[in-house]
Symmetry: C2
Subunit: 552 residues, 2 copies
């Protein structure tokens, strides 16, 4: 057995989303995060994507614990699938996280499993022992409260895993990132740093969450009618600011949208959100207040089709937008969501609302470290080996280049792909082998697709449609003109023209191929070739050949 | 007959793309631009979109001329469809544009029509008379050479149409926008200004095209191997800069991709692009030069699937990316294209190239006016009425708010939708009625979709797939278990389970409904309901009911 550490990212490298990582030493394994990701535009009918955790399922007996760095979907959203996959274990591994993270994770786990899972709330600066690993949890700032980075002591050396972080010098809860502990472990010696690469293309420092305060005061304070604010439900510090500023301007707050209600109420229950008395009112109470006494806080900052704000924009919600409403988008579109977000904004404008958005209004700041903070993290921890994590390939490579400027040796930096096995010991590190790590596609019913074939078929049909030809054969002759139907195909008026011709061609073929055993496949090909050449298009052609047998 | 002007936008309002506008006075009509737009993500199989020009087809006899403001696809790309639609006119209306615009438009017109169309090259500051209209062409700066704005004298008053513009104080060709002429007509009196809204959310001034020069010198000058630069083929001033800087660093230039070759060669032919002698070489000559003697200039800045750069990134091009290559993206993603662009960048990084991109490297500037320039345009022209054009709803509304700050009266500003008829006379303006203006979808063979139904079917199939059930009925009984096939449906293993049950249900139904005339429809519904309830999914279910008749 190897005496090296093995670092195996299963998700989150070469992509933004579905973060999951295994750290192995001899037979001990710890798992960091278990998130989900969102499908590409042409992954039709796919609702989310989870990591391929086959390696962990095969080695489930050795998992000593699962550590969740924070409560965002891309870090906890895959947990129920994973627990199900290892549910034939007598004892499921314990899940560790801070109070809010565990609170949000609890909601993700099915009734079937919840009683079998041990969820342990940990404090920052607390240390736990998991066999070969001693793990310390360090406060970091991020766009959700209660985020942590990790110091992992191993027999080979110390690992620092930053989680998602920024160094916010003036965080809303007043608790800054744990500069001292990162520096302390740096002084003791860090074998390997794994650090968040999301914002590596941004110069300088990411602004403090507190900087949003002026933008929100300005936007809410100057509103004359209702205020409708949207942000990520999980950004509890942002929600806190919106509630405080609404209170300052004598507005009651209404929560719209399931996840906004759920997360906000959970955060209040756990003490992460402090509300002035009676500020929250129910939807049903809206009519008791004047427009300028109301702030509606809603989901939908990414233009998600089913979110409250999108339904409001489409006039599918009982809240009707009217002239005088001010809609505040306290978020920026995640790359890929621009069209949906701007489409929602356009519709809200068209209904007469004023919409304020975009960063120059100071309505949003990012939760991830920019270049100067990433440099600071490297200089505090002074690692021997460096693995940029949490980013597309371009982010990881930019982060490598940034680390090189800080005198981390190029040969000690590893840009990994999901599934790569990085073996690290005190004097040497290299990529040795690979475990499966392709995407696992999941549909809205939680069903896992084991193959891409179904999605590929959808892609093809979406392009040119599908044609179904039914041929009835009786006594080696086509019984009547083939029946041709289509969906999503443009030239339906040609079917009547080609049906007779298809019959003749098949009859001709049948008369010449009486002994052919492969006749159904051959006729299908004949039909497909004829339609493709006749139409000049490439619909999916599906043929149904019935050999009618009246003996039955 | 009304003595008002009628302004009828047919495309480009409430959207970015497919610009087209009719200006009418009594029976005279002039048409400004005839562009195409790109489909939304869920408009499957649609390749581009053109305006609905039904109003113009119905009034084709009154069209006095078509004016094209510049040679971008969203201003000229629909011209051939439009000419075809009015091709039964004895004489087609003359098309007016600057030399480059006409040169690019010529390539768009089919052989069938080209001999019947009169294309007239106009000069800036030239005036033409088209019945009731006297039109003057004014130089404006934009991301394609030879762009113009329009001053249109009418019996009611003067109209200014900016086209797409920015006020670049230091343009590459040295010819600034025609400040004087805009100011002169402002002094004489402008009844109506229609101005480009694309960049209304950007503060300040849009940087000059010349500002890109430093970024390109830095990127190309420090490259040690091959340079591969991508930009919009139509941005001829950018192409000029890339050629000049390549020459400065002793690199030959190779043009990759059809549109890059076509547009660049056209621009050279017409004198818009001046190349140092022998700088352009053919693809076949690449091997005669060292890597550091080559700049490859390619299409694909938007991650378009079939472009040269995307094919290079996917290893589907004969040019193979290698370590040492520097790839320069001299463009930014158009909203909606981010995922495709970054996916291309990630793949290029993964193949070992260095990729430089994003605006902080000074590799791109926009071609549209920012807020201070839009204010300048209003202050120069001092219009009575104002119609913001060329933008999504949010842009048009922001532009309205900006104009209000410059003391244009709110009631004199009109945020129009495509199809709105704005009637304007000397003392009054109002929206009066509407002409058809919905999208017209076109597929890759140039075939026009007259209905959205086909696209809707594709959307539904893409979500859950399609199931086809074939039932053969002979003498009022189902002949054998129904044949069930599917494409893009996930649970194919259930088919064998439900087939027998379907047969029983249909037989049962047949025995009870011997006289039913609507039997096929009823059986189809029975099948659909059963499959939907059994699977809990909503695939398209298509049933083929064959009543077998052996008399034939």
């Amino acid at each position: 057995m190897s005496n090296s550490l093995r670092i195996i990212p299963l998700g989150g490298l070469g992509e933004i989303g579905k973060n999951m990582m295994a750290i192995c030493y001899q037979k001990d394994i710890i798992v960091i995060d278990c998130g989900l990701g969102f499908p590409a535009e042409d992954e039709y009918g796919v609702d989310y994507i989870i990591p391929n955790y086959k390696f962990l399922v095969e080695n489930k007996n050795y998992i000593k614990g699962i550590i969740l760095t924070h409560g965002h979907e891309d870090h906890i959203g895959g947990i129920n699938h994973f627990l199900e996959a290892i549910s034939n274990l007598t004892t499921l591994p314990t899940i560790y996280g801070t109070k809010l993270t565990i609170g949000l994770t609890e909601c993700k786990i099915s009734r079937k499993l919840i009683d079998r899972v041990s969820l342990k709330v940990i404090q920052t600066r607390q240390k736990i022992n998991l066999s070969s690993f001693k793990i310390e949890f360090l406060k970091v700032c991020h766009s959700i409260a209660d985020s942590i980075g990790l110091v992992i002591e191993t027999p080979i050396g110390n690992i620092v895993h930053t989680g998602d972080f920024k160094f916010d010098p003036t965080p809303i809860d007043g608790i800054v990132s744990d500069y001292f502990k990162f520096a302390e472990i740096g002084e003791k010696g860090v074998l390997l740093l794994m650090s968040d690469s999301t914002n590596v293309t941004r110069e300088g420092f990411t602004p403090s969450e507190k900087e949003v305060s002026n933008g929100l005061i300005n936007a809410i304070g100057t509103a004359e009618g209702r205020v409708i604010v949207t942000t990520f439900a999980s950004n509890i510090h942002r929600v806190q600011q919106i509630i405080n500023i609404s209170h300052k301007f004598n507005r009651k707050v209404v929560l719209l949208g399931k996840s906004m209600e759920k997360v906000t109420k959970k955060a209040i229950e756990l003490g992460y959100l402090k509300c002035p008395e009676n500020i929250l009112i129910e939807e049903s109470e809206i009519d008791n207040y004047k427009d300028n006494e109301l702030s509606l806080l809603t989901t939908g900052s990414q233009g998600e089709p089913m979110s409250a704000l999108t339904r409001i924009a489409n006039d599918q919600h009982w809240i009707k937008v009217k002239k005088g409403d001010k809609i505040i988008i306290s978020a920026v579109p995640i790359p890929g969501n621009e069209k949906m977000v701007f489409s929602t904004i356009n519709k809200l404008f068209a209904r007469g609302a004023e919409v304020v958005y975009e960063s120059y209004n100071q309505l949003h700041v990012s939760g991830h470290a920019s270049q100067e903070e990433l440099k600071l993290m490297i200089n505090l921890t002074k690692p021997k080996y460096f693995v940029p994590i949490h980013g597309e390939n371009r982010h990881l490579i930019h982060h490598r280049e940034l680390a090189k400027k800080l005198n981390i040796k190029e040969e000690n930096i590893f840009v990994l792909n999901n599934g790569d096995i990085l073996e690290v010991d005190k004097i040497h590190a290299e990529i040795k082998g690979k475990v499966p790590a392709e995407k696992v596609l999941v549909d809205k019913q939680g069903k896992i697709y084991l193959e891409e074939e179904v999605v590929n078929e959808r892609r093809l049909i979406a392009e040119d449609g599908i044609i179904v030809v039914t041929v009835n054969i009786f006594k080696n002759q086509v019984l009547e003109n083939p029946n041709i139907v289509s969906k999503g195909f443009i030239d339906t008026n040609i079917f009547s023209k080609i049906s007779q011709s298809l019959k003749d061609r098949i009859d001709n073929f049948l008369s010449k191929n009486k002994e052919n055993l492969n006749i159904e496949k051959d006729i299908s090909n004949l039909i497909k070739d004829y339609i493709t050449s006749y139409t000049g298009r490439k619909p999916i052609v599906s043929s149904i050949i019935n050999k009618i047998d009246l003996k039955s």
